[in-house]
Symmetry: C2
Subunit: 252 residues, 2 copies
Amino acid sequence: MKQPIIGILGGLGPAAGADLFQKIIENTIATCDQDHLSVALLSYADIIPDRSTYINDATQADPVVQMYAIMELLQRCGATVAAVPCVTAHAYPVIGRLAAQMQAANFDTKLLLMPQETASFIKKTAPHIQKVGALGTIATRKHRLFYDALIAEGITPVYQSDEIQDLVQAAIFNPEYGIKAVSYPVHPQARLHLETAIAYLKAEGAEAVILGCTELPLAITEPWLMDVMMIDPTLALAKALIQAVAPHKLKA
Amino acid sequence: MKQPIIGILGGLGPAAGADLFQKIIENTIATCDQDHLSVALLSYADIIPDRSTYINDATQADPVVQMYAIMELLQRCGATVAAVPCVTAHAYPVIGRLAAQMQAANFDTKLLLMPQETASFIKKTAPHIQKVGALGTIATRKHRLFYDALIAEGITPVYQSDEIQDLVQAAIFNPEYGIKAVSYPVHPQARLHLETAIAYLKAEGAEAVILGCTELPLAITEPWLMDVMMIDPTLALAKALIQAVAPHKLKA
């Protein structure tokens, strides 16, 4: 199996991996099965210790041990490029260390990073945009995953208040209405919290808002909301992965 | 990695693999990522020669060579149970031979078969049903994949005419409006052809109709249509796979 293969380290959570895979299919130019790209998706949700717990407290179980083992499996499956469809995991204690370990071991598999691919996607597709907000988990905000990636592309981040951050956190994690608990379809309460957060960022001057947790695009599927451009990091990642293995097959 | 893992040999086509994975997620009892099951999905669409072409003409490229290699990879990924989300491929020249080769090599991975799991699903969930139709490709019809599986469960198959079969084939394969070419969303013409076929089977006495090609449930998402029960083999397979690795996590 010598052709390029896209690897997905999924399971964080499973729905985000399914969403990335579907977006790869949807954005590939193809009229028959054989036109589609090879994808290996390992969604070992039940063996990877919770990354948010570990990022908050490094004495807890380290997810990188299992994630590295899964990356080795993806390499064995022939993955030439790979990604982890979970923004939070990109904080240094998890994907930062994973990437360093892969580099030290001379992996054949090139790892693409969601925050960087998202900022680069905005720069490429909407170069006029100057101010961008980013919704995501507490860890994503604290570790400045999108903010630093945006600044690196010359874009000014727009920040939310702690109160707004609490609403976003609840929209993702609330055990009764959070997107992680209720995904198909998303609960209206989760959607409402996110609309409040987007209105806040718009008032602060954001021209675009990154739906910066892989669960959020399941709740906000519109490309524009309140005249603000919605940016789906999973879509940006899907396009970057196709670009990496077969640029001529990437839909415009 | 010693816990049970579900293997999916995808890519025939890619959307069917994504659909099976999503149905496994949706039918698993879970309130957090770690409650979900481990799934390995290898969707190597571009390296597997077309199975329909081979079933029609055994002098063409044999897909079983690559499918066996992928099954070996799934076994290495720890898959304890596996399935191929493509009904047509279950004809003897493809999955019949694949299963025989796996058995001869003493695979650790148990292969579940879609037609058998579908018939068993009908028997379990709607034991009163006596007459069932099955829509699918020409090969699925010719090789009696569902008909023989239904008979084995004591259910009487309802057959369609050649004219109706032509409509179903076009709904799947037409390069302009077929589901393989246009999946998200499905083209209305494909849907219309399938409605005509379901009405025909109902008139012939069918109480349920198997949407017996993995692309068809993308077009017919209703559980009942024209008072006929719609049976989704991908859903039946998803439930059988969960049942095989973690019966206590299977949603009712």
